[in-house]
Amino acid sequence: MLKNFIFLILKSIRHRPIRSWLTVLGVIIGVMVVVTIMSLGTGIQNVISKQLNQFGNDLIIIFPGKLTESMAGFIGGMRFRDADLLNLKKIPGITTIALADIATFTVEFQGEKKSNTTHGMTWAGTKEIFEQSQGFKLAAGDFPRDDNVPEAVVGDYVANEMFKKKMGVGDEVIIKSKRFKIIGILGKTGNKEDDSSVFMSLNNQRMLTGNYAGVMMAMVRVDPRYDKEIIAEEIKFELSKQSVVEDFTVITPAKIARLAGDLLSVVELFLITLALVSLAVGAVGIMNTMYTAILERTKHIGIMKAIGASSLSILLLFLIEAGVIGIIGGLMGIAFGILLSFLLSLGFASLGVQGMFSFASLDYLGFATVLIVTFITGIVSGILPARQAAKMEPAEALRYE
């Protein structure tokens, strides 16, 4: 019986190819969005986790302004005094303090000029933080040893892609009429911002900016035997004694992870809502098609009932048809969703965000659930029109033209 029904349904679907495919398309879009979100959601988590590891799980960052208004702190030009930050070294457990400043300059290389972010930092602490906490590796050259020599380290993108000619160790760049020797080139970090930066000593950057009054931020490295949260509290206590920057933020890796997690939850919730709306649109599409199909086939329903089809058979015919549309749309939606995720991940990769997608991390159980939900959505969408079709008296249906 079921075999006969499936046969009749497939024949019926093939009889109205355009309408059937448009309905399937509605479901495909809904499922594709869900699958893309599921696939990239895992990728986003992986990338964030990678970024957090790169950030260093033994680092504490200090910057002006409240956490919720951190950009205002930077833009507002609030700066810590060097001494206030360096004084933190007395806190037990702090092994290194690197002071850092950020600026934007035009960098000239072999006659070509590009705007770049430059990071000015005290090399002594930075080298240790780069290599041990953040896992930055030098692809070539070395880190500078003297804060007063005009030397710079550049990111992978700056060295290899930003300029027409590739940059090498020993080459020179001109920043604000001053020549800097490229002494090291960082390997690809996977972070577009880091890969596009030029790193120089704080002294050199101050000379370029002419601003010798304090720094924007500091990175503090903590001995792993100490509790970072307690040290962060001690830093806050010490900094509360200075009055230059009244509002400041001391942020630990755990706090960043929490913030990223919260952000990810919000993003996921938004995307899932979007996906559910898409699925609902697909469901309305199925319902619309089923209603239209019933109107179109009212007379045929009458014929089928006249030759012995029961109301239950008609109900099943339409429900299975709706379910089949759901399943076909679901399967194709999953395939297209995976393809879209893959293509998006290629796009993200070209922007410097690696590892957004991998076949190994696909949630196949989740996809199976999506497929079941789609099938059920199809059936539920088909219930109303199918019931209407089943209830019709054969003569009433036969009169329909």
Partner: protein
């Protein structure tokens, strides 16, 4: 057997359904008729709407002591047309006897097709009863109606009513699919061969001529070996030769296989071949079943 005939004036009106006032042959209610023919048989008085029914009774009185295979009893069908009531059938009562060829005739809008739909359980009456072998079936559950339509009735329509997306073969075997019965391909092939459709079965309806489509519809109607064939203007859309071929097949089914055949028709030539003609006017059976002949003469 002793049968005597007597013509009487109109009897006082009685409640419909009172067997005393029913024509035992055609089943119509005689309570409002102007004249009734009476026959006595085995000491019992039987009333008839006219000479025709009386003659049929006299030919085989034993047959009419049994239960008719189909009976409509005081059947009403009313449609609500935007508040106005439209009575399509008005207290319709008829008997259909097993193995008979019955023609239902009448002008357009007289209720012929609605009557056929009621006989075949395709429509629900507003009131009244449909009796199949004495069993009231108009109020049975839908699944049972579907079973009866599948096993007892075969339908042939003027518009053929084939499913357009199925091939001729698939249309023919569709009733067996719905009845969840196995399909004997050899038997189906033999039947297809018999009606001259071999080589056409893989075509879809729009690729077939009207006559071919009606033969497909006829084979479909016979697929579950029904006891009764109900045909609504089966030759109405066909040329005379094709129409006659289809009619011959239907009459063969009635005469050779002794199955009941009910045809709704406008064609007097078809009606003349029937065992019983039921003439309808304004949703009622007219007293003299052969009244229609004057319209066709």
């Amino acid at each position: 057997m002793k049968v005597s005939t007597e013509k009487k004036n109109k009897q006082p009106a009685q409640e419909p359904g009172n067997n005393e006032m029913l024509d035992v042959v055609c089943g119509m209610d005689l309570s409002e008729d102007d004249s009734i023919v009476e026959e006595s048989y085995n000491g019992k008085i039987f009333k008839f709407c006219g000479e025709h029914c009386s003659e049929r009774f006299k030919d085989n009185p034993e047959k009419y002591q049994k239960t008719p295979i189909l009976r409509l009893e005081d059947l009403w069908k009313t449609f609500d047309m935007g508040g106005a009531k439209m009575h399509i059938l008005q207290g319709m009562s008829i008997n259909i006897w097993d193995g008979d060829f019955v023609a239902i005739v009448g002008a357009s809008g007289s209720g012929k097709s609605t009557t056929l739909n009621m006989l075949g359980l395709l429509d629900k009456p507003t009131s009244g009863k449909v009796l199949l072998g004495g069993r009231e079936v108009s109020s049975v559950v839908d699944e049972e109606k579907a079973r009866l339509r599948s096993e007892t009735f075969g339908f042939v329509f003027q518009q053929y009513n084939l499913i357009p997306w199925l091939t001729a073969y698939e249309n023919i075997v569709l009733p067996r699919m719905f009845a969840a019965k196995t399909i004997d391909d050899k038997e189906v092939a033999a039947r297809i061969e018999q009606v001259g459709l071999a080589g056409r079965v893989l075509h879809r309806p729009f690729e077939l001529s009207g006559g071919e489509q009606q033969r497909v519809a006829l084979l479909r109607a016979l697929m579950n070996n029904p006891r009764i064939i109900l045909a609504d203007e089966p030759t109405g859309n066909l040329d005379s030769i094709t129409g006659q071929n289809i009619l011959t097949m239907l009459i063969d089914f009635n005469k050779k296989q002794k199955k009941t055949l009910v045809i709704v028709t406008h064609d007097s030539a078809i009606a003349k071949q029937a065992d019983l003609i039921i003439t309808m006017k304004d949703g009622k059976v007219v007293c003299d079943h052969y009244n229609h002949m004057k319209y066709y003469a």
